[in-house]
Amino acid sequence: MVSGGHRLPLTGPVDATPVDAPVDARPVDAPSGEAEVWRVLEQIEDPELPLAITDLGLVREVRRDGGRVTVRLVPTYSACPAIEVIRRTVRERVAALPGVEEVAVDLTFDEPWTLARLSARGREQLRRYGLSVPRRTFREPATCPFCGSTDVVLETPFGPTLCRAIAYCRACRNPVERFKPPAD
């Protein structure tokens, strides 16, 4: 057994509002040029998690004006090292589209990233990957992805990436990785 010693119970309130609609996704009425860009973005995976950046909710906005494309991304964590890799990948893939001459990929902090930006598919992909994902906030009771128990305590708020924490399931005695949204 590890000796982290925090063992904080995860006992915050559960926000039961629906979480199955991502905040920003390809708009159904997007002009064809922008929809084409969205389709490219939907194929780009996060380097640290097994899901598309659009399912994680990193894409705030796509704008296309002839050959000029602007993509605005909202990082989960501002210091996430993956974000520069993602910026470069977006720039390269979008620039490869026919008719695109110039691509700007900016970061925005106007509205912070929250779990509401994660799509239902993305949530399911993270769960299958073995991550316990809160509905809204980090302090909610955690569900063990192995045995389903909610007798899970926080070992340490830091894990293999900035967006993961290490918890411990007291029922099946397994360490559990918990997806960690920025604190609200």
Partner: protein, 280 residues
């Protein structure tokens, strides 16, 4: 569909220059303490703490980067210059508070004969982290309620991330303080020794009054210090510890540093100096 990004408000040149000075000091705080935290990588007292300090370091340095980029924007320079701004200055051009450049052993006791010069003192590291992270939270809250929209948005983002640093540091302090009279006495010695330099976190940068007058800084550094004293006294009191005494030890925000900073910069910038023009 998301709203278009609000255009960055235009600041008068004098205000922009003062804000750049103010943010440079904060960025230097984050970079220098981030480097000190990173020195724990591979040496933490347990693997969770090792990973935590490494993650916190990564975030502090990442926050420094974003603040340096904002400084460059305010100065009308390219964001591409961020590495030069971070690594290309002599110690006297740094504006971090002196507390943050202190080595991880706190410099409180000289290493015994024959021991390597660097030894991590976990109690010192945790005390410094608690004191700094509380100060940083108050600073971020001040920016978040200030009148410069891009800074307010960034501050709200950083504050959500910093809460986990505080959770980690304050849980550890509580754990150490509960470790018996010897442990508590040792923590108290650290608190008494660093108190003046901790108050130095609230040394104002030149021309701060301009930022207060323009609503960019709704709370002056002195007002932030008052709030910090109250919060820290309550926090420590709950653990059987007490704040230190005495006046603030200032100078860092004016570029007056201890020799510790030169040693830190020598190591931190060694790779960058090999080839400052290298592209990654």
């Amino acid at each position: 569909m998301a709203q278009p990004q609000a255009a960055a408000p235009r600041l008068a040149p004098e205000v922009a220059a003062r804000l750049a000075d103010h943010l440079l000091a904060a960025a230097d705080d984050e970079l220098v303490l981030g480097h000190r935290h990173a020195e724990w990588t591979g040496f933490g007292p347990d693997i969770e703490s090792d990973i935590a300090l490494s993650s916190v370091a990564q975030e502090e340095i990442g926050h420094a980067r974003l603040l340096y980029q904002m400084v460059l924007g305010l100065q009308g320079r390219s964001e591409e210059e961020v590495d030069r701004l971070a690594f290309g200055r002599p110690p006297q051009a740094f504006r971090n508070a002196v507390l943050l450049e202190r080595p991880n052993d706190g410099g409180l006791e000289p290493p015994p004969e024959g021991e390597p010069a660097w030894r991590g003192e976990w109690g010192f590291t945790i005390v410094r982290m608690v004191l700094y992270d509380r100060a940083d939270a108050i600073r971020l809250e001040t920016w978040a309620s200030g009148g410069h929209a891009p800074l307010a948005a960034l501050a709200r983002t950083l504050a959500r991330e910093e809460r986990y640093h505080r959770l980690f540091a304050e849980t550890w302090l509580e754990r150490l303080a509960a470790g018996g009279p010897a442990a508590a006495a040792r923590l108290q010695r650290v608190l008494d020794a660093v108190w003046g330099e901790a108050l130095g976190l609230f040394e104002a940068t030149d021309g701060e009054a301009v930022l207060v007058a323009h609503g960019l800084l709704p709370r002056s550094s002195a007002e932030q210090a008052e709030r910090w004293r109250d919060e820290v006294a309550a926090l420590l009191g709950g653990m059987g510890l007490r704040p230190g005494r005495g006046p603030a030890a200032t100078g860092g925000r004016a570029g007056r540093h201890t020799p510790d900073l030169a040693v830190l910069l020598e190591e931190m910038t060694s790779v960058w100096r090999l080839d400052p023009e290298a592209r990654w």
